[in-house]
Amino acid sequence: MLSIKNLHATVEGEEILRGINLEIGPGEVHAIMGPNGSGKSTLGHVLTGREGYEVTAGEVTFMGQDLLALAPEERALAGLLLAFQYPVEIPGVSNMEFLKTAVDGIRKYRKLEALDSVSFMKLAREVCKRVDLDQNFLKRGVNEGFSGGEKKRNELMQMMLLEPHLAILDETDSGLDIDALQVVAAGINSMRDGKRSFVMITHYQRLLNFIEPDHVHVLGGGRIVRSGDKSLALELEDKGYGWLESEAV
């Protein structure tokens, strides 16, 4: 599904990613952990093509395509979705209009019939319920005045509506209380169908109690310094990141 080879990237002239190698197969769940500032979010932004995040070396193939050659919107249409760590507030653009525009685009790309407003409304309401978000949030400006947790649920809602092949969830669990965390985890689990893949960027092993990863990677200094199975996450929980730091040089 996704193959990253020796990926180097700079932000504002500073090298943040220094040779990432990662293979993600269909249906797999990967967790990427690592201390603050280790480059987790940067990886997500580089993969989705954010301006100013410059790839200086390496290759990324997504479902047989050269991902790095595509514009951000083309990457999304190809089936890649990043749930942002810090979703953007866009006052004046209603959440409903935003979601409908995005869904219209992706359905068109997938050669599916367009949804009329009534069917879309119905679908959006269902998805709202699935992430435990009040329907009023559809009428409000995109993320406008949403709490941290509400923004995360809105990201999840977009994932459910856009049905990507690969979802990168950047700290979708942070700032949530245990109830909300369970809602989010159930939402993610409901999207697992054996084909869709997930990359869960997280700080804590907490989320992984609810969503079992196939692989766990630790990012340090812009490289993957350790990979393992879910027991690696438990080990990290126990010992912190300190013991890996010597390996990160």
């Binding site: 249409l77 979705l81 942002f84 953007v88 004046g92 653009v93 935003f98 995005a102 685009g105 856009l162």
Partner: protein, 441 residues
């Protein structure tokens, strides 16, 4: 280059009621003593009137064939069916009964100055020129000097008129460039309520009209007026206009302004709080593009205590267009307990676009609450990226952000039907703009 001051003086009005001659004479003398503004004229610092002199707008407006299919089609385009309004249509300044649908409303009198009866003439004479100051606003002087007719709207005491009055001023090009004088006087007696929509539009052809428009709104005690002034004329139109309002005790004026670009548009919006407890909501949107120029000068005079003003203007400026916004709030010594807010936000969607914004607060009373703020921003790259990351094409994302910037004001219109009419018009404009830009690249 010609001398516009002299040229304008040579245009004598035709067949005009005698009782207007005094006002016209004063207008002429005031206009005669004025000089064309230069860069040093504070109120016209960023807006040059060269186009007015170069364009030689010497011709007179001519009556057009209102029954032409083109004009009927244009009328249908500007009609707002859901507004359910009484619609008066003027073409190049001439009233067109064929295009209008004036269902009579007892509580609202609408007549031409030239057709006013004795009582109406008396009311007109009592109010015309009391809100618009010809010595301060030179184009009001011009309007006075050209005064041959006008539209008079009168809402009698305590009448609540629910059907909006929709006045449409259409322009189509004439063989030679011409000038047009548009004059409206709205008198709201005490306790009355009404809605007046002033709507300026043109056909798609290159316009060669200079419109000088002066509207006066006189609100009696407790009167409520919901007023819209929509400028949707095409590219080459030239408009200098003023909306001048006087508010008596506890009167409420809600005035919304929309300006799409033109070669030149300059609007002076002046509101005087003359009675205790008057309130004004003044909102506006300006959207110049290509090489257009739009200038909104607003001035709120707080002359009495306990009055409130809430003013919000937003602009999206594209391509190499230029916008000017000047928001003055003047609080006189008497105006204690004033609450006034002014906000002006601008979005530049190109790095050649320009805006000059200046809030001006002059406060001579000590017990008042006033806030003002002006911002200028570019399209937010992070927001664009967020939208694109959901598969939305960059051009479309730009349109969404531009419309989003003004949607709040459109969504809050008192008449939501008007908002529904405007939304597609505006978003089409942004789409057109993006496609033109793409083509150019």
């Amino acid at each position: 280059m010609s001398n516009f001051i002299d040229e304008a003086l040579q245009r004598l009005p035709t067949e005009t009621p005698d009782w207007l001659s005094e006002q016209r004479r004063r207008g002429r003398s005031s206009w005669k003593s004025s000089t064309m503004p230069t860069r040093k004229t504070e109120d016209w610092k960023y807006t040059r009137l060269r186009v007015l002199e170069e364009g030689a707008y010497l011709g007179r407006a001519e009556r057009q064939d209102s029954s032409s299919p083109a004009l009927t089609a244009l009328r249908d385009q500007v009609k707002i069916p859901e507004l359910d309004a009484r619609m008066l249509v003027f073409v190049n300044g001439f009233y067109s009964p064929e295009l209008s649908s004036p269902t009579a409303m007892d509580a609202m009198e609408v007549v031409h100055f030239s057709e006013a009866d004795e009582t109406q003439v008396e009311t007109i004479r009592a109010h015309l020129g009391t809100a618009a100051d010809r010595d301060k606003y030179m184009f009001t002087a011009l309007s006075d000097s050209w005064l041959d007719d006008g539209v008079f709207v009168h809402v009698t005491q305590n009448s609540k008129v629910t059907t909006p009055l929709h006045i449409v001023w259409l322009t189509v090009p004439q063989r030679e460039a011409f000038s047009l004088s548009q004059r409206l006087l709205v008198v709201m007696d005490a306790g009355s309520e009404a809605t007046v929509v002033e709507h300026f539009a043109s056909d798609g052809a290159q316009q060669n009209c200079f419109t000088n428009g002066v509207t006066e709104l006189v609100l009696g005690a407790n009167a409520r007026l919901c007023h819209y002034r929509l400028h949707l004329e095409e590219e080459h139109a030239l408009h200098i206009g003023g909306v001048h309002a006087r508010l008596d005790r506890d009167a409420r004026l809600n005035s919304f302004h929309l300006g799409l670009g033109s070669t030149l548009k300059r609007l002076d919006v002046v509101v005087r709080h003359e009675g205790n407890g008057a309130h004004c909501d003044l909102n506006g949107i300006y959207l110049p593009r290509h090489s257009q120029h739009i200038d909104y000068h607003t001035c709120i005079e707080h002359a009495r205590p306990h009055c409130t003003t809430n003013e919000v203007f937003r602009g999206v400026i594209s391509d190499n267009a230029r916008a000017v916004f000047n928001g003055r709030i003047h609080i006189h010594p008497d105006a204690q307990k004033t609450v006034a807010q002014l906000s002006n936000k601008n979005l530049l969607t190109s790095n050649r676009a320009e805006v000059d914004t200046k809030p001006e607060l002059e406060i001579y009373a000590d017990d008042v609450k006033c806030t003002h703020g002006a911002t200028v921003a570019q399209l937010d790259d992070y927001a664009l990226y967020y939208l694109c990351s959901r598969g939305i094409a960059r051009e479309h994302a730009q349109v969404m952000l531009s419309t989003g910037f003004i949607n709040e004001l459109i969504n809050n219109l008192q008449h939501s039907t008007l908002g529904e009419y405007l939304k597609p018009v505006l978003s089409d404009m942004f789409v057109q703009q993006v496609t033109q830009r793409e083509r150019a690249e």
